[in-house]
């Protein structure tokens, strides 16, 4: 396995356990979808894997990436892996980009910080190439534009360009299309699929959107209240869900192809509240 997570927990001194002893595996080149509603712990899981947890959070358990337990690494050692062999794409590209630097500078810096001895001009050339690979038109000109000069979808392309420039083995994408319009979302999902096809990178996709997961992932982890309720091949999860919660979650998804009358919402443990 490229990534093996065992008994991972995240707790806060004040808020208790938000991730509670979860396990999952991802083979090289595979794609894993982690789905759940708000409060399920899915985003904390991805931050825990990257060692990017907010202050006050404690992590236990092991995160074995290519034979090395990331949980045992120093921040310095982790920094060498993060953004190089493991890349990240977040929901909001605008807050992940620095408004004061051109996108080209930022992509090039991401590259140079992991490739000692690469000259500025070579890094700039690599940045333009990366922008071309994510289909940003006139990359040679747009490399000198600032983040605000790009649309939301284009900014997400910039983030993906930055993620793939180091040719990572693993991309962790946390709600990468949630803030985007549906037509742009489709383009970004296609782009992620294309990047994976071309580079062989594995993908962890964290999302609340079951339909997106069904289009992207070959394995699925369903989370609820910090725990994994069900895990399996995407086909099994979507066609023959074993756990009541997974069934209820799938029942609640509105279908675009048909009106399904009263949407079924039982069994979600919502008695006494909506949570």
């Amino acid at each position: 396995m490229m990534l093996s997570v065992r008994d991972l927990s995240v707790s806060f001194r004040t808020g208790g356990r938000v991730v509670d002893g979860i396990d999952f595996d991802l083979p090289a080149g595979g794609s894993l979808g982690i789905v759940g509603e708000s409060g399920s712990g899915k985003s904390m899981t991805s931050l825990a894997v990257m060692s990017l947890l907010p202050a006050g959070a404690t992590r236990t358990g092991s995160i074995v990436f290519d034979g090395v337990d990331l949980a045992t690494l120093t921040e310095r050692a982790m920094r060498a892996i993060r953004g190089d062999r493991i890349a990240m794409v977040f929901q909001d590209p605008l807050s992940s980009l620095n408004p004061y630097y051109t996108v080209g500078t930022q992509i090039a810096e991401a590259y140079r910080s992991h490739r000692a001895g690469v000259s500025r001009s070579a890094a700039r050339k690599a940045a333009i190439e990366a922008m071309e690979r994510v289909h940003i038109r006139e990359a040679g000109r747009r490399v000198d534009d600032y983040p605000h000069q790009f649309s939301g979808g284009m900014r997400q392309r910039v983030m993906i360009a930055m993620a793939l420039i180091t040719e990572p083995e693993l991309i962790i994408a946390d709600e990468p299309t949630t803030a985007l319009d549906v037509t742009v979302q489709a383009q970004i999902l296609d782009l992620l699929a294309e990047v994976r096809r071309d580079t062989g990178a594995a993908l962890v996709l964290i999302t609340h959107d079951l339909a997106v997961v069904s289009e992207v992932a070959d394995r699925v982890v369903v989370m609820r209240r910090g725990r994994v309720v069900e895990t399996g091949a995407a086909e099994q999860i979507f066609s023959d869900p074993k756990h009541e919660y997974t069934r209820a979650l799938l029942d609640a998804v509105p279908r675009i192809d048909d009106e399904i009358g009263e949407l079924r919402t039982t069994e979600l443990g919502t008695t006494g509240g909506d949570r």
Binding site: S38, T183, S239, P241, L250, P254, I256, G273, D274
Partner: protein, 283 residues
């Protein structure tokens, strides 16, 4: 249809000045957010305005609800021209047209109790509260599926879905004939979203209000709309009965929009339904 529409919008146009383009003697450049939009909304029906960000759907809803003034065009409510009403006359419109917003928390005053929030529209309109504010608030809470015991709680003591129920209770408190829902279920988790959709459908069949439903999620629209208008760049590019628009889209943009929606693979979905039925019968 021979029945008169409850809400009739004709050639709505809304222009906004572009910030920073005004000079001392030159007026600011204009951005046309809504460009000649017309629609009819009938009692007991739900018209969904769908589109992506910047399509003008929310601005259209605000024009129709008379929250903002039109640049040109007309809005008729039950045959009466409400386009240019102001002040006291507009209060009459507020009695008939109510809004439910996307973010339940930012649209509820955090320092007010549920009782005060849901009875506020009646109080502002200086109307008597039937049976006293407490009993009225509790009956509203029951109708939207909240525990009437929680009438003295504050918004922060509720979950997102419950807070949206409070927003809906406030909207139906005045017995509106038109309910404008602006992305009312967009911020909610899927299970909660389903509950709110069910609630809105149930209330509509009880009360018979017309609903103008603004949404970007086409799957949600399929569950709730009677008819659909698709907007892009401030214009309606396609409008019709829901199933016609979804099953036989005529406009290129509608097709593109429908094709882009992520779907659970139909064969997986069919297998899941089959398995669920088998489990049912095995019981």
């Amino acid at each position: 249809m021979s029945i008169e529409p409850l809400l009739r919008a004709r050639d709505l146009v809304k222009e906004f000045p572009v910030a920073g383009t005004a000079g001392l003697l030159v007026p600011a450049k204009k951005f046309t957010a809504v460009d000649s939009v017309s629609f009819d909304l009938y009692a007991g029906h739900t018209l969904a305005l769908v589109g992506e960000s910047g399509s003008g759907k929310s601005t259209t809803a605000r024009l129709a609800a008379r929250l903002i003034d039109v640049t040109s065009g007309t809005v008729h409510l039950d045959g009466r021209d409400i386009t240019a009403l102001h002040g006291r006359d507009l209060q009459g419109v507020r009695r008939e047209v109510q809004m439910v917003f996307q973010d339940p928390f930012s649209s509820l005053n955090p320092r007010h109790t549920v009782e005060r929030i849901v009875t506020a529209p009646l109080v502002y309109q200086k109307r008597p509260v039937p049976g006293g504010t407490r009993r009225f608030a509790q009956s509203l809470m029951e109708r939207v599926g909240l525990d009437p015991e929680h009438v003295d709680r504050y918004p922060s003591q509720f979950s997102g879905g419950q807070a949206q129920r409070i927003g809906i209770a406030r909207a139906i408190a005045v017995g509106p004939r038109v309910l404008v829902c602006d992305e009312a279920v967009s911020a909610l988790d899927v299970s909660v979203q389903a509950q709110i959709i069910n609630l809105l459908r149930g209330l509509q069949s009880e009360e018979g209000f017309a609903c103008l439903f603004i949404a970007h999620d086409l799957a949600v629209v399929r569950q709730i709309a009677t008819s659909v208008a698709v907007m892009t760049d401030g214009k309606v590019v396609e409008a019709g009965e829901r199933d016609d628009v979804f099953d036989r889209p005529q406009h290129e943009y509608t097709r593109k929009l429908l094709a882009a929606v992520p779907r659970i693979r139909p064969e997986w979905e069919a297998a899941r339904q089959r398995n669920a039925r088998e489990r049912e019968t095995a019981r």
